[in-house]
Symmetry: C2
Subunit: 459 residues, 2 copies
């Protein structure tokens, strides 16, 4: 939340690094301070891993001075951050925490070993340490874990002139845009934008110009709920209250941006059976570890499908042509099931659906499955009829296709609804169940029909 | 971008509707005005489709007064908005456009027929109409199409006192948080937060307190690029400049939030072969139309797989057991391919990858495929060996699995890279190509090996 910036194209970290080191070595402190003040955290962070210990220490003290230290450190990837944190002494880390927003400081301490974290917390002032500890015990992925405890809250009785004085004295270096108002019991009662303050007369009381009934979120709201509120109302930040409606923190839109990115991506990765930290650039070892378990689970379900096919081994040795069209039955069921699944998983993520009220959408999937099955089935029957000259096979495939795509539709809709109902993440395990359903039922209907028709209805 | 709000839980639109209509009918205009002023657009929009024409007209005039009309209308779903826009007369629509932010007005006009749009534009003041037209001709999904042309830009020579006066006189009802500074040639030279203005002395010139070298984006940048800049630097808004570095607009974080949500979702839906507007609540007809074409394309590729199996019909009628394990080969190849594909499609979306520099990631997928294939292959060989007692089959499956998962890894990586290189959306068509590869090669290797081994290596 900072309008400062160097320039649009991020500077090459290497040449940047050389400039910084040169200034450090030749006592160019004032220039160095100026550069660091002007550069955004995301552009400074790539340099830190390149610095020698002594240089790092001096740059850090400048970052602490500018209030950016924790933000810059947090922009560094986890694997590179560890050795840097190890090389920083406790005293410096304490100073980093003191100079930074509490949510950033808490995130930074979260990355340390328990012993070290306790040591740092012990060296902070009691109130500051308690604040960070209270942030660290918040349940993950809730408003409590996203919020900062640095915000400006003033009594509603205060005048605009006093409020502007408070803004002048407010130590936080980050920009901020709202002032919250509370009553004598610290209950959240209103909000003002800085523009409201500029427009009002100096003697007006805040309560006469503030907006009442602020959109708020509770400390135990999930991060998805927080993101939904911020997106729905186009907010820049949302105040967080406890069960007694007392103001305890603020979640800013930059953190919500990260949540939204992360949630949509999680669904995508989970549906494909990939870990959310799996990247094209991950090591072979890490990618193997993240993907192998999912493949083994799928292997187990593939064997279930195999055992269904096994029931019809005799029929297949008599009519090998049935085996030729097995990929069509399985493939189409899987594809149709995945389509429905994706729509329902996203519907659940947006809170648009629940099991109880979803009778109509499920019936709709049955209908869509019927029409898709009929369309694809007729095409298949025509192709197979002309290809093999055996029109019985075409009819078998048509019936199996309609049946299988209806199953795919209902399973693709019901499986995620049921998983969600029992508090499982529908994105993670739905596709296993759905493809098992479509494979088992698809093969059973196709091969079973094949056995019946081909044995009893000679050409 | 508005701190106003009614309360956290969105009120039921139906009871809300009743209150509003009662106030309308009993001349409760002052109260009505107060309610509308306090209520956020997202909460007002569900009521509009419930109103009769006369009521709608009166509510709209209050919305126009409060500057919210376009935002409220834009929150209504496309299918419900059409009849509402049809029932509003031209004069009222002109007033809606005049009272709203230019990006919202342009979006609203974009939804009209050409004739009606031209009529509305013709009735606006020339400068206002030209502004909206210039926004509507911007290429879709670029900074130009996202930006608003309402922002406060002041000459860098101006004093703080003058700037505060300009803020007082600035008509836009929305809150805003930055003031941009330009030189005499309208080139963007700096930015100030409102807090900077509050902190500075009234006689200071803006250029002495502004932040220089602002992060900016050009009018033809893609919306992904804009989103990446805003997310990287935690910005609330980013100024848009033309090729001559002249300030032409501002993109705010609430629009970026929508872009990020939309982009991640697009990849998810495209990978599953679903239209981005497909919802659990869509009609049967719409879902059928959006899903059927994808299923037909998949049907075609399934026939390619079938024709490969067809080559081995003789072998299958002799060894029907081979058909039993076909689902294992096809399923595992498809799953492993989808894993790799997902990682690469997201890597491309983040701009982390391109074809030229991806030699290492592709080789890595080959290695991951080898180890996953070895692990799954050994498990399969053991299960099949004990199950059937025919260990030759286990060995065939082991070799086919290793081979197929290596193919899945390379295809899952190369197909999206190549599609991107030729400017196709890798999320849309990658999975078709990859599953065709894994099916064709998987069946060929498995059945081919089966034919060779079973015929030449009697038990």
């Amino acid at each position: 939340m900072n309008p400062q910036a160097l320039r649009n194209v991020p500077p090459s970290s290497r040449s940047y690094h050389q400039v910084l080191v040169k200034l450090l070595r030749h006592n160019g402190l004032p220039q160095l301070r100026k550069i660091i003040d002007k550069t955004l955290p995301a552009d400074l962070s790539p340099i830190l891993p390149l610095l020698l210990d002594d240089d790092l220490k001096r740059i850090l003290s400048l970052l602490i001075e500018s209030g950016k230290a924790a933000r810059v450190l947090l922009e560094i990837g986890r694997s590179e951050l560890k050795p840097i944190l190890d090389s920083i002494d406790d005293e410096t880390l304490v100073a980093v925490c003191r100079s930074s927003a509490s949510d950033d400081a808490a995130d930074l301490l979260d990355g340390l070993d328990d012993d070290r974290r306790d040591a740092i917390l012990g060296r902070l002032e009691a109130s500051e340490g308690a604040k960070l500890e209270s942030l660290m015990v918040q349940e993950e992925e809730t408003a409590g874990s996203l919020m900062t405890t640095e915000y400006l809250a003033l009594d509603e009785e205060v005048t605009v002139a006093k409020a502007i004085e408070a803004i002048r004295e407010y130590p936080r270096k980050d920009s901020f845009f709202y002032v919250y108002t509370v009553d004598s019991d610290n209950q959240l009662v209103g909000v003002l934008s800085l523009r409201n303050l500029i427009l009002a007369g100096p003697e007006a009381q805040l309560k006469s110009i503030m907006v009442q009934n602020v959109v708020r979120t509770t400390i135990d709201s999930t991060q998805e709920e927080v993101a939904r509120v911020v997106a729905r109302y186009d907010l820049l930040s949302v105040p967080v209250v406890d069960a007694q409606n007392r103001l305890v923190g603020v979640v800013t839109v930059d953190d919500v941006l990260d949540v939204i990115q992360q949630e949509a991506e999680e669904d995508l990765f989970h549906l494909a059976g990939v870990g959310t930290s799996d990247r094209a650039t991950s090591s072979v070892r890490n990618s193997f570890r993240m993907r192998f378990p999912w493949l083994v689970v799928n292997l187990a379900t593939a064997f279930i499908a195999s055992s269904v096919v096994g029931l019809f081994q005799g029929t297949i040795s008599q009519w090998a042509l049935l085996a030729v069209f097995m990929p069509v039955v399985a493939g189409m069921g899987g594809n149709a099931g995945t389509q429905t699944l994706t729509v329902f998983v996203r519907g659940l993520a947006f809170g648009e659906l629940d099991l109880r009220s979803s009778w109509r959408p499920v019936m709709k999937e049955l209908a869509v499955g019927f029409f898709n099955g009929l369309g694809c089935g007729i095409l298949t029957a025509l192709v197979v009829g002309f290809w093999t000259g055996d029109w019985r096979l075409g009819v078998i495939l048509l019936v199996a296709m309609v049946f299988n795509l209806m199953v795919a539709g209902v399973a693709g809709a019901l499986v995620p609804l049921i998983l969600k109902k029992f508090d499982f993440d529908p994105a993670i395990s739905s596709s296993i169940f759905v493809t098992t359903f479509t494979d088992v039922i698809g093969f059973f209907v196709f091969l079973g029909l094949g056995m019946l028709v081909l044995n009893n209805w000679p050409l």
